[in-house]
């Protein structure tokens, strides 16, 4: 099940737990799995300067086991592209706007107890990204990613525009991209295979309510 955590609800005990879980999963995947030593912290929680109250998180959790997720930071705040990778944005300048959010730490866990299909998790988090974008009235989502994702996105009919040329790094090349947010994008992400995952998007705008609200209201009793 998908959860959205942001400044308005991160203080809730359940969400604090999920967030903490996610830092441990990120450590497993990035520090131990991919060997990104630069992200290593002594307490085994992979957490960086962008994990602030400005960040929103989408987590796919099986009970309280975090099996997938992503982090979003509004680009008018310091974010990965502006602080660490501005040099790979060569077509114009780094997008900076409250209506453009950057996605980082898009992950799906390996191993663990959950038997949930990880490919479904990845697809749903990706759909959640566009649903979130629509609900928050975002213009676009930006990302720094491995260049090899580009053909896969394009083949899935996702509209993605490069913000610079592929740039070599240790493990290949990476590229800064911009994904417009609109219903067509959500539709492409769904691939005709799934419905709403985070928000009931098919409803007209004024009826849009968070899909999770009911479960949180329930928990508050």
């Amino acid at each position: 099940m998908l959860h959205l955590i942001d400044a308005t609800n991160r203080h809730l005990p359940k969400n604090q737990k999920l967030l903490e879980e996610s830092f441990l999963v990120r450590h497993e995947l990035y520090v131990k799995g991919r060997g990104w030593k630069a992200l290593e912290k002594p307490d085994g929680r992979e957490i960086d300067q962008f994990d602030t109250d400005a960040a929103s998180y989408v987590f796919w959790a099986d009970g309280m086991e975090v099996v997938g997720g992503a982090r979003f930071v509004p680009t008018d705040k310091p974010h990965l592209m502006s602080e660490v990778f501005p040099h790979i944005v060569t077509f114009g300048s780094v997008p900076r706007s409250a209506n453009i959010w950057e996605i980082t730490r898009l992950f799906t866990s390996r191993g663990g107890k959950s038997a949930v299909n990880r490919r479904d998790v990845t697809s749903e988090v990706f759909c959640a990204m566009f649903e979130l974008g629509l609900v928050k009235n975002l213009e676009a989502i930006t990302v720094v990613c491995d260049t090899f994702f580009l053909p896969r996105l394009l083949e899935a009919e996702i509209d993605v525009k490069p913000l610079g040329l592929p740039t070599p790094y240790d493990e290949g090349t990476c590229i800064a991209c911009r994904l417009p947010v609109n219903l067509t994008q959500l539709s492409a992400a769904r691939g005709g295979k799934r419905g709403s995952v985070l928000f009931h998007i098919d409803a007209p705008v004024r009826n849009r309510q968070p899909a999770y609200a009911r479960s949180d209201a329930h928990a508050a009793h």
Partner: protein, 241 residues
């Protein structure tokens, strides 16, 4: 990077995204790579030695003579560039591969013959699509530009050209291929799940003959697997479930 370069690349990407036909994709791609001194190009799934020279092509401006020579002499068995595709997922130049460790006489022959056909400099962009399917965009010329900036631009352009061509091919489907009587028989049995050996037994032909018929159908349809050929044939009403 100058904004003129950026505009050039962005214009090319835009033209590719809008291209209404594979022919147009080819035209836009050609204009883009010619700026760097590339005169021939090919976007296809790499031939797999065990399957012979089946290579579904998405688009190409490739010498027919060279393709025939390559196929006839089975250069796909020794082509160092094909080997490189198995070694790395990143774009590479022919020079980089040629400069690496000494090559066997067979490998050297492939490279020398390509040079005879005016293909001295080359650049290859491996592209892994949905489902992990591999295509490679290869471009060659007499003396092309392959500095890091050029490579980055060509990498990006190749990806968008591949994606548009793939999209157009999917949308317009596989053009009907009329199966020859024996091909139809062999494929019909394959549709029922018979192996090449079983088909050979049923039709009184050798196992390799049955195999060859299916390979021919795959090549003419421009598909990469037996299953795709069966699906296409069913779609075209040439075999039945």
């Amino acid at each position: 990077m100058t904004s003129a370069v950026a505009n050039n690349t962005l214009d090319t990407l835009e033209a590719l995204e809008r291209a209404p036909s594979i022919l147009k994709v080819k035209e836009v791609f050609r204009r883009a790579v010619e700026r760097f001194g590339f005169t021939s190009f090919l976007c296809s799934a790499p031939p797999r030695p065990e399957e012979g020279s089946v290579d579904p092509v998405l688009f190409d401006a490739w010498s027919r003579d060279w393709r025939q020579r390559y196929s006839k002499r089975r250069h796909y068995l020794h082509d160092p560039m094909l080997r490189e595709l198995q070694r790395t997922a990143d774009p590479f130049t022919w020079d980089a591969v040629a400069a690496r460790s000494p090559h066997s006489p067979d490998e050297q022959r492939v490279m020398d013959e390509a040079a005879d056909f005016g293909m001295r400099g080359g650049f290859v962009v491996p592209i892994y699509g949905v489902g992990g399917q591999l295509h490679a965009v290869t471009m060659t010329g007499l003396d092309p530009q392959t500095d890091s900036q050029a490579r980055a631009e060509l990498h990006l352009i190749s990806i968008y050209a591949y994606a548009r061509a793939k999209h157009l091919k999917k949308r317009h489907g596989v053009p009907p291929v009329t199966l020859r009587p024996r091909e139809q028989q062999v494929l019909q049995w394959a549709t029922s799940g018979k192996t090449d050996w079983e088909i050979g037994q049923i039709l009184g032909i050798s196992e390799s003959a049955a195999h060859k018929h299916i390979e021919n159908v795959k090549r003419r349809m421009g598909v990469g697997t037996r299953v795709q050929a069966i699906v296409e044939a069913i779609r075209q009403g040439q075999v039945y479930l």
